[in-house]
Every structure is written in structure tokens, then in C-alpha cells.
Symmetry: C2
Subunit: 498 residues, 2 copies
């Protein structure tokens, strides 16, 4: 083959990227707009697009083109693009179409069973479906592991966070597991000694919450010509390249979670909005992986916004939006900070504070490894879950709704995803720390609502890099060293035990 | 090939149908939800899907499968399905992939330019884009004409209304063109002698208009589990099979047009919602063509709803929705009927009454035939438009916003579409006349807001037939004879010169 092999690959992946964009809009529509009766038809549309994408990427010519392109004279980004193409190609071609389809069907059936099982707290309903999902996931993992020459669970990790390996994650998580019990005790007893936070009294009209969220998105630099804010049951950031769509959900009784949720999803969306347009639809031009993605949402939410500086800036906006609450003390930044940094031993991951959140993740990480390895039979999952919660957080869920039925991930076939949440939190702390060192007066800027210096730094040091560097090289280039969990712990100590 | 050729075709067309559904949602999103900066990306997504659909349907095997299937023992619907598959296959395979993609891209770019040009009344903005669209449309039309062995413009017509031919349309339109001037003079002088209609005074809040529209949709039998109502600049009915999405636009100064627009689009949507689910995604299971489609919207709007019966029923709902208007006479059915059947020599097709509407269509039909034939250069279009308006309706648009920039069709690449509006109006009159003869007490039912007998008759005699029969056979089966324009003229005489 000639020097056009690389160009041929670019064209094929551009087509794939555009189909993925189309799917992104169809997924968004399903959660935000679609009438209920259209669910089956939409599933068919998405499955058809999945099959077509799989056919495109497993075309036998792709392997030949990759071999040829690797021998061509290419620029650095082109070479990195070929590297990412090969990764995507191995992930796709390791698994045959029949297994892909069986896995997709099993996940759909299991997800439906889970929707019934969760409110009833009845794990038995979903168990046979989950057995099938786990079996097929393990089969796919083994096929990928063989192609990559890595352990099975690592192959699953690699789908969500390229190059993530258990050998690297184990010591990080063990270290946090050892750090947490004592630290959590100290934080809780310190918070018990402080005055109780004053809860602003609602109702907080949805339209006001939405306006406040839009204002904050504007302040953070969200480009509304290339994105939207809407409502869905489960908030997410999605859409297509150049068309970033984030969602939130509003409770009239509590405005705090929609606001922070909007900031969180804006962090994801800014990453996507700042990806280099030259490499749009190419593998090297996509977000690096779920670790870096989560670092961008958590940096904006946990690091920048659950801070005295941001809350000082936001307090008058909140008071203006929700004037009905007359008690002045509710709008004091100090009080808002107490509200937004409350720590507790809870059952539910998605409601957890940043101190206990890693415990939820570590539990899932250990359990899913054991499940994939065949060391933990699925029928023993509820017991192992509750035991793990007791050990890690000192609480035991009263039922499986508050235990192993709470998250959709496994029931939807996503094993290997959970660790990226906590690795992302650690990267967020490290990136924010680095930004604070090089941007003069960053805290003061945030307290004036000036996010441009921070977001520009992220755009240059993280977003613009797309998938050109590995996650570790990206962190090293941006902060001077690879992922260093000590920065996250230092952040927690500074914020919760000042 | 064996008896499985037909089944093989069904599978391929099902895949195609699901991709067309995906495109339907992406088109809807573009007009209703998409942020402006995402236009280019969306055009790429749609073009990519167009190319993939084109590849599917022009797969060399399709021709062989069609030949084989035509020799197989098939039921009546299967045989009709093969007939429609062949028609679709000829339309698609006549044009190569590069032309399909270029046409799709050119249309997207032109449509976006038109969105800018129309409010500015600046035809020059859109002219170069339209040149490209016309050039590519003509090229595609020539290729199809050669395959079907028909004239170029007939090949374009056939895309929207199978078997429609200029040789059939010319005398119908010439006849109406001859009938109109005298009739219009008589109607206008009659209306001038009647008391002037009392215009209800606004503002009419958008939210109230929307609620009224939703209520009327419910009354007409729209299934909200499989559809939505939204807002767009240019109202349309679209979406996917089982997910019918109609749009309207609201003016706070006038509620009448949004309401009738909603009824009109509901007529389109009901047709789609009642197509036989057994044949979903198959060519024989789709709507017959744009003539029948338009007949369904116009039957509900023009025949059933702009009537004394419906307006008697709707008057109290309108009064309730827009209580601010205190003058009782504004809400008298007689007054509403005057408002809703006012005839005038206007510039805008979509605002035209049913008497002058055909003149707008005849103008476009003649102009687009000249454009495709190369007899009218595009730079002369505004002048030719204004001249035609003067001849047909006796008025001359003051600018191109009120002239040749008013409709999206050409800018979106749809040449050969316009005639179906007026052919549809004629079919609507004929179908409503037939329904009135067989449904006992239909006018009385409508005056009670009971649309079920009418809609059930349409569902059985039109919607459930899908593309099983030709348009003319469908009309003959439902009404006893093929399209008969005399019924439309009789309807106009009865309503406007009673």
C-alpha cells in the first residue's frame, strides 16, 4: 500500500465519528425528548447504527491499512492517531458480531429487570439476567485480554480508561482505604462541633433554578452556540462533537444539587467543546478517557465551586434568584460552604461527598474484580456488598435498593468503569493544584466569578491535548508529575480539617 | 436464488427504514433543538447517513434479489412490497454516491443560508448556494429520467408522488387557472358585501395557544405516547415511525394560524400513526406519497375544521383559552367562520386561503419546471416570481421575503414537491365528500367535537392501505373514482358562493 493508507484510515474513522455523533444526539433525545412509546423503535435505530459502526471498524482492510500506515512518514499527531486507531480496532475486532449482539441484548433485558428489581429491593429478580450479562462480559473481556496480552479485568478497564491497570490502581486504592477510617472520624467529629448549617427554605421555582444554572454556565465559559442545557431523569453530558448537551434535574425543595450538577456537567462539556477541531472525528481528537473526563467535571465542581471563593461570589446570585428565603444567614458564604461540604456515612454513591465517595468506588472495584475472576458467585454479591460497606464506611445498607441494586452500571454491562471516578477525583485535585500555582491570584479571581484564567489553562493543558498523550503523560506535562494521590489527600485535609 | 430472496430484501429494507427513522429524528432536532453552531456537524451526520442508505439500497445484490423475488410465490402485500422496493431501488441506483453526498451537503448549506437570507429579504445571500442545489438536482433528475424513461421533471415529481406526470397535471392546473380569476372576483365581492369579521384582540399568550393546540390534537386522536408537539420556524410533521413529531409557530398577535397549523400537521401525523405496524420499515408500509399525505392534512384542516360545525364546537374552547377578549361577538361561530374562510390576494403561500392557494402552487410548478429545463436562469427567479404573482393573483410582492424566499423547499433541494399540495387539496375534498356520504350524521358529530367516526374511516380507507395501492386506485377504492377535480371546485362554490 502507498502513502495514502493513513488518509484512507482518516476517512473511515471520520465516517465512524459522524455516525457516533448521530448516535449521541439520538441518545440525548431518548433521555430528554422521546415519547415513551417510541422506546422500542429507538433501540432498533441505535442497534442498527451499532452494527454499522462495528462493520466499519472490523472491515478486514482496516488491519492492513494500519500495518501500512505505521510504516508511513507521519507527523506526531498522525502517529498518535494511528496508535489510537489500532486500540479502537483491537477492542472492536476482538469480539465477533454475534457476541456483540448477544451482549447488547442481555444488557437490555437485564436493565429492564433491574428497573423492576430496584424499587422492590429484590435482587432475586435480576440475578439470572445479571448472570448472563456477567458471562458474556467475561467472554468479551477474555477475547480482548488475549489480543492485548493483559489480564481480563485490565482489558475491561482499558475500554473506559486506556492503559489503566489493576497493578497500578491497587496500591492507590489500598492507600486510600487505609487513610479513610481515621480521617473520616476526625472530619465527622469536627463537623459535629461546628454550628449546624441553615437549610434555605424552598420552594425554589424550577424556572429560577434553570436561569441561575444558565448564568453560571455562561460564567464558566460554556458556548451556547454549540450546546444546550435541558432536563433528564439522570443528568449527563452528551450530544455530538460541536453540539454539547448537558442535562440536570430540578427539585423545588432543594436548589443546591441541580446547581452543582450543572457545574459538574459543564466541566465535561467544556472538555468536549475545547477539543481540537482539526482532529474532529479522529480517534486522536477525542477525549482521552473517563479518568480525564471525570477530572474535568470534578475540578469545576469539587475543586473550584464547592469552595469559599466561589460560594462568596455565588451567594448574592442565589439570594437574588430565590428571594423568598428571608433568613439572611442562609445566604452567608460560610453557611453555604457548610451546606456544600457536609460529610456523612451514606449508602448511595451518587449522593456521597468527596471524602466518602472513593469508598463507594473501592467497594465496587473490588467486587467487580472478584466477579470477573469468578472468585465471587453472583448470588453472594448482596452479602459481600454489605460486608464491604461495613468495613469501608461503617454502615450496612438495610436492603439491596440502598446496596447492590443502586447503580445501573453492572446491569447495563459496564464492568471496569467505576475506578475512573476516583482516579478522576485525584487527577482533579492535582490539576487544580497545578493551575493554582501558575495562575496568579486564582482564588481571588474565582471569588469575583472570573473563570477564564482557569478554563483557559485547562483548555491549553488538558482539552487541546485530546488523546495525543497518554493520561499519565498528559498529567505529567500539565502538573510536572504523573498521577499523585497525595495531592487529593492534601486537598481533603486542607478543606475538611483546616 | 431461492424463496429466501424476498426475506433477504425485507431484512435489507428494514435496516434502511431504521436508518431513515434515525435521520427523521436528526432532521427534527435540527429544526427544533439544535444550537446554531452545530449546523455544519449535523449536515455531515445527515450526509453520512444518506451515503450509507444509498450504499445499502444500491448494493448490486439488490437488483438480483428483486429479479428473483419477482419470480417467487408471494402474497398480495409482499408483491406490492417488491414493486415499491424496485421503485425505490431505481430512484437510488440511478444516482451515484458522490452525487448523493454532494446534493445532501449542498442542500444543508443552502438551507442554512436561506435561514439568514429570508429575514433580510436578500436573495443574493442564497443565490450561489441555490445554483449549486439546482445544478445537482438537475443532474440527479436527468439520471433518474433516463432509468425510468420519462422526462426529467417527471422523474423529480415521481420522488414525491409516485406515477405523477406533468401530462396529467397540466390540464388540471390549466383548468384551475382558468376557473380562478372569475371565481375569485365573485368571492371577493361577495365577502366585501358581508359584515367585516371581528378580529379577536390579543395578545394571545403562547402557553395558552399551546394548551389549546394540545387539546385539539387530543380530540383529533393524536397518540401522545408516540409523538410530540413543538415549535419551529417552518411548521412540519416529521420524526420517525412510531415517533411522530409535529411543529407549529405561535404569534401572540394571532392565535388562528397556529391552531389551524396544528390541526393540519396532526392530519399528517395521524396518517403516519395509523400505518400498518406489520409493514413498518418496509416500502409497502410507508405513506403512499405526498399527494395522499397532503390530502390528510387538508382534509382535517380545510374540509373538517374550517367549517361552521367545527368552529361551533371550538368557539367556547377559544373563549376559555383567551378570556381577555371581552367582546362576545368575536367568539360567535359565525364570526369565527368569517375569520377562517376569509379569501384574499396575498403574497404568502402558507397563509393563503384554499381558494388562492392553488395559484401559489401553479406559480411554483411553472417556475420550477422552467428552472429544471434551464429555461429560467436563477438570477431571474425573483422577477419571474413577481410577474407570475401579478398574472395569477394580481398582486406583486414588495420584496423577496414575501416572494421567492418564502418557502424552504427549493433551498432544501425539493423540486417537484409543490404540485402535491394542490393535488392533495383536490383529493381531500373528494375523500371528505365520500366520508360524508357514508358516515351518518358526520357534520353533527363534528359540531360535537367527535372526530372518531371520520378518523376511523380515514384510518381504514386511507391510512391502513399504506403504499399497497397506487394513489389513483386508493382514491377509487375509497371514493368510487380516481382523482376528480370537480369535487374540489364544487366544495369551493358551496362554501364561498353558497
Amino acid at each position: 500500500m502507498s502513502a495514502s493508507s493513513y488518509k484512507g484510515l482518516e476517512e473511515r474513522f471520520a465516517r465512524l465519528g459522524r455516525l457516533r455523533d448521530a448516535q449521541g444526539i439520538l441518545h440525548w433525545d431518548r433521555s430528554v425528548m422521546m415519547p415513551s412509546g417510541a422506546a422500542e423503535g429507538r433501540a432498533e435505530q441505535l442497534a442498527t447504527l451499532d452494527v454499522i459502526c462495528h462493520e466499519l471498524i472490523t472491515d478486514p482492510e482496516i488491519g492492513e491499512l494500519l500495518d501500512a500506515a505505521e510504516g508511513e512518514a507521519l507527523g506526531d499527531w498522525e502517529r498518535a492517531n494511528v496508535r489510537e486507531m489500532r486500540r479502537a480496532w483491537i477492542h472492536a475486532s476482538a469480539v465477533d458480531a454475534a457476541l456483540v449482539e448477544a451482549k447488547s441484548r442481555a444488557a437490555s433485558a437485564c436493565e429492564m429487570a433491574w428497573r423492576e428489581a430496584r424499587p422492590k429491593a429484590d435482587y432475586a429478580i435480576v440475578l439470572p439476567y445479571l448472570e448472563e450479562v456477567l458471562r458474556l462480559t467475561t467472554e468479551a473481556g477474555k477475547a480482548k485480554a488475549a489480543r492485548f496480552g493483559i489480564p481480563v479485568y485490565d482489558a475491561l478497564l482499558d475500554q473506559f480508561e486506556p492503559d489503566a491497570r489493576t497493578a497500578y490502581i491497587d496500591p492507590l486504592f489500598d492507600d486510600y482505604g487505609a487513610f479513610l477510617p481515621d480521617f473520616l472520624d476526625q472530619v465527622l467529629s469536627r463537623q459535629a462541633r461546628e454550628p449546624a448549617a441553615v437549610e434555605p427554605r424552598g420552594p425554589f421555582p424550577v424556572e429560577r433554578q434553570r436561569e441561575l444554572g444558565l448564568r453560571v454556565m455562561q460564567i464558566l465559559g460554556f458556548d451556547f452556540h454549540r450546546g444546550r442545557l435541558d432536563v433528564s431523569l439522570h443528568p449527563f453530558s452528551g450530544g455530538a462533537s460541536g453540539d454539547q448537551r448537558i442535562t440536570t434535574r430540578y427539585s423545588e425543595a432543594d436548589f443546591t444539587s441541580a446547581l452543582m450538577g450543572t457545574i459538574h456537567e459543564t466541566g465535561h462539556a467544556l472538555y468536549e467543546q475545547h477539543l481540537p477541531s482539526r482532529w474532529r472525528h479522529q480517534p486522536v481528537g477525542g477525549a482521552r478517557g473517563m479518568l480525564v473526563h471525570e477530572s474535568q467535571s470534578l475540578l469545576l465542581e469539587m475543586q473550584a465551586s464547592r469552595s469559599r471563593e466561589f460560594l462568596s461570589f455565588a451567594a448574592p446570585m442565589m439570594r437574588e434568584a430565590f428571594g423568598a428565603e428571608a433568613r439572611e444567614e442562609a445566604w452567608q458564604p460560610e453557611n453555604l460552604l457548610r451546606l456544600y461540604t457536609r460529610v456523612s456515612r451514606g449508602f448511595i454513591r451518587t449522593e456521597a461527598d468527596e471524602v466518602t465517595y472513593p469508598a463507594h468506588v473501592i467497594l465496587r472495584y473490588r467486587l467487580e474484580r472478584a466477579l470477573i475472576a469468578g472468585d465471587l458467585p453472583l448470588r453472594d454479591l448482596p452479602g459481600a456488598w454489605n460486608e464491604g460497606m461495613k468495613t469501608l464506611l461503617g454502615v450496612e445498607p438495610p436492603d439491596d435498593r440502598l446496596g447492590c441494586l443502586q447503580d445501573i452500571h453492572w446491569y447495563d454491562g459496564a464492568f471496569g468503569y467505576f475506578p475512573t471516578y476516583t482516579l478522576g477525583a485525584m487527577a482533579a485535585a492535582q490539576l487544580f493544584d497545578a493551575a493554582s500555582r501558575v495562575i496568579p491570584g486564582l482564588p481571588a479571581a474565582i471569588s469575583r466569578g472570573e473563570f477564564k484564567p482557569l478554563v483557559d489553562w485547562l483548555a491549553e493543558n488538558v482539552h487541546a491535548k485530546a488523546s495525543y498523550l497518554s493520561t499519565q503523560d498528559l498529567l505529567a506535562a500539565a502538573t510536572g508529575r504523573p498521577l499523585d494521590p497525595a495531592v487529593f489527600k492534601a486537598h481533603l485535609k486542607a478543606r475538611y480539617l483546616p
